[in-house]
Symmetry: C2
Subunit: 158 residues, 2 copies
DNA sequence: GAACAACCTCAACCTCGGTTGAGGTCAAGG
DNA sequence: CCTTGACCTCAACCGAGGTTGAGGTTGTTC
C-alpha cells in the first residue's frame, strides 16, 4: 500500500508538504503553533487528515494578504470542531479579511498621495509635511512599517 | 556655553534624539548600519551635524512607506558627499520611492480582487483559485495559472 | 533481512529593526 | 572639587516565521 492508487485517507508529512506547498519544517512549526493538527502512527510518525490541505491553503492565502499567523490562528479557531468545514465556512473566513485589506490599500494610497505632495517641496522634515507626520493609525500587521512613530515635538528647520 | 542661545553647530545625542524623534539607541544602531555618521569629542562622545536631522527625517518617512533600512541606506548613499544635500536632492530621493509604492498598491489591489473572487466559491485550495496559486511554484501537475503576484521584495522561498 | 529514504525530536540559528542592561566615563552646574 | 545626568561600549535579547543540523527511528523496497 504505497502508491497513489491505494492512498488512504491520511497523508504523510512528505505528501502533505508537496501538495500544500509548505515545507515539512513549516508543518511542524504550524503544529507547534496550533494551526494544524496531526495523528501519529504506532511508530510516532505524523499523519494528516485531508482537511489540513484546506487549512494550509487558507494559511498560505492569508499570508499572501499579509495577515499574521496569530490572526490566522484565531480565524481558524472559529471553524467547527465537530465536522469538516464547508465551502461556506471558508468563504466566511475569507470575507473576514476583506476589511483588513481595504484598510491597508487605503493607507498605502494615502501615503502615496502624501509622498506626491512632498516631492514638489523636498520637505520631508518640515512640521507641515503630511508624510513625515503620518502617524495616524497605521496598520500594525502585514508588510510595511511595524511600529508606529510617536508624534514629534521639535523638527529641524531650514 | 550650555543653553540654546549658545548652541554650536553640532548636536549632542540627546538633542538629536529629541529633535528627530528617534531614540538614542536607534541613533547608535543607524550609525553602525551606516545610515548616519557622527564626530567625536575629545572624550569620545558623539556629536552630530545638523544634516543628520534631515537624514533621520528621510529615514522615518521612508519607513512609513514600508521601505527597508537596507534600501534607505542605498538611497542615502546617492546623496552628494561633498556638500549638504539640497531640497532637490531630497525630492529626488522621495520620488524614487514612488514606483515602489505604486507596485505595492497594485499588488494589494489585485490580491483583494482575487479574494473577492474566492469568497463566492469558498475555494482557496482549488487549483483554479487565483489567490491560492499566487506565488505557486510547486505547480506540479496541470497547466497552473501564472503567478498573479510576486511576494513583496525578494521573499526567500523555502 | 538489509538498504535507504523518510521520518522523529530538540536545540540552535537566521533576518529585521532595534531595545535593554551592566559596567564604566564625561561634562556642566553648584 | 564634586555630584549628577548624559554619555560610552559591548553583549544579550525581543518576536515573527520559520530553517538547519545532529543524532536516532520507521517503514517500504529489493
Amino acid at each position: 500500500m504505497s502508491n497513489a492508487e491505494h492512498r488512504r485517507h491520511l497523508l504523510t508529512p512528505g505528501e502533505t508538504s508537496a501538495r500544500a506547498g509548505v515545507s515539512v519544517s513549516a508543518l511542524h512549526f504550524y503544529e507547534r503553533e496550533g494551526l494544524v493538527t496531526s495523528e501519529r502512527t504506532a511508530g510516532n510518525q505524523r499523519r494528516y487528515h485531508r482537511d489540513v490541505l484546506r487549512r494550509l491553503a487558507f494559511v498560505r492565502a492569508s499570508q499572501q494578504l499579509g495577515i499574521s499567523l496569530a490572526r490566522i490562528k484565531e480565524a481558524l479557531a472559529t471553524l467547527p470542531g465537530d465536522r469538516s468545514p464547508t465551502k461556506a465556512d471558508w468563504a466566511r473566513l475569507s470575507r473576514s479579511w476583506r476589511d483588513d485589506l481595504d484598510a491597508r490599500i487605503d493607507q498605502l494610497t494615502r501615503l502615496r498621495d502624501s509622498l506626491d505632495g512632498c516631492i514638489g517641496c523636498g520637505c520631508l522634515s518640515l512640521r507641515s509635511c503630511a508624510l513625515y507626520n503620518a502617524d495616524d493609525e497605521l496598520a500594525t500587521d502585514g508588510p510595511g512599517p511595524r511600529r508606529l512613530l510617536r508624534p514629534l515635538e521639535d523638527v529641524p528647520e531650514r
